[in-house]
């Protein structure tokens, strides 16, 4: 009698690696409200102050400089941090509720093949944020949280965090 090994090896499907990036304030609050979407996934959080994540018991979390288009040097530092985080985490998906650091992480993620999802902040009720408008070109999908801001084939509305 020969003990035969099973012909087909069974592998559990690899858990999705998600990088969730949100700046301090409302962006972070909205990410917290949406984190139920990441259940069962390997989530790494990125924000400007890791104490925010520690307070919620979220780990791992990396800190990144806050920046905007008026601070080019700080943006460079932010981009360097983003590339280091992306190289370490190797996410399948980068998702951000804003602001500029989220967009920078999304671009860095694309360099390693990560898909990008931009969820524009609910604070932008009249038009997409500046980062959101850029994300239309840089992210794979862009969601708005206001139905009247949806644009066929470009910006989708599915619901809102609040």
């Amino acid at each position: 009698m020969i003990d035969a090994a099973p012909l087909v090896e069974t592998h559990a499907p690899r858990r999705r690696r998600v990088l969730a990036v949100a700046s301090i304030g409302g962006h972070w609050e909205q990410m917290l409200l949406l984190r139920g979407a990441f259940e069962g996934m390997d989530v790494t959080y990125v924000t400007n102050d890791i104490r925010l994540a520690q307070r919620e018991g979220l780990s791992p979390c990396y800190a990144i400089d806050d920046t905007n288009r008026h601070h080019p040097l700080r943006s460079l530092r932010c981009a360097w941090s983003a590339m280091r985080i992306i190289a370490k985490v190797r996410p399948d998906v980068v998702i951000s509720t804003g602001a500029a650091p989220g967009l920078i992480c999304m671009v860095a993620g694309r360099l390693v093949g990560a898909r990008g999802l931009w969820v524009d902040s609910m604070a932008n009720a009249e038009r997409l944020s500046g980062s959101g408008r850029l994300a239309r070109r840089l992210a794979h999908r862009v969601f708005t949280q206001w139905p009247h801001l949806a644009v066929e084939g470009e910006v989708e509305y599915h619901g809102s965090a609040f």
């Binding site: 999705r16 998600v18 409200l33 949406l34 139920g36 979407a37 990441f38 996934m41 399948d92 998906v93 998702i95 898909r115 999802l117 969820v119 794979h140 999908r141 969601f143 949280q145 989708e156 599915h158 619901g159 809102s160 965090a161 609040f162």
Partner: protein
């Protein structure tokens, strides 16, 4: 005629039962958004 129709609609409106209140954990708009996010992550759609 018009007044009678308005009165009829008002009566119908008053008789209509209220929608059940949402509990603290219910948030249909957030649920829909979370589902769309999850769908994107899992299926790329």
């Amino acid at each position: 005629m018009y007044v009678a129709r308005v009165a009829e609609e008002l009566v119908a409106l008053m008789k209509r039962p209220l929608d059940p209140p949402l509990t603290e954990n219910e948030h249909p708009a957030r649920d829909r958004l979370q589902r769309a996010i999850r769908d994107f992550i899992e299926n790329g759609r």
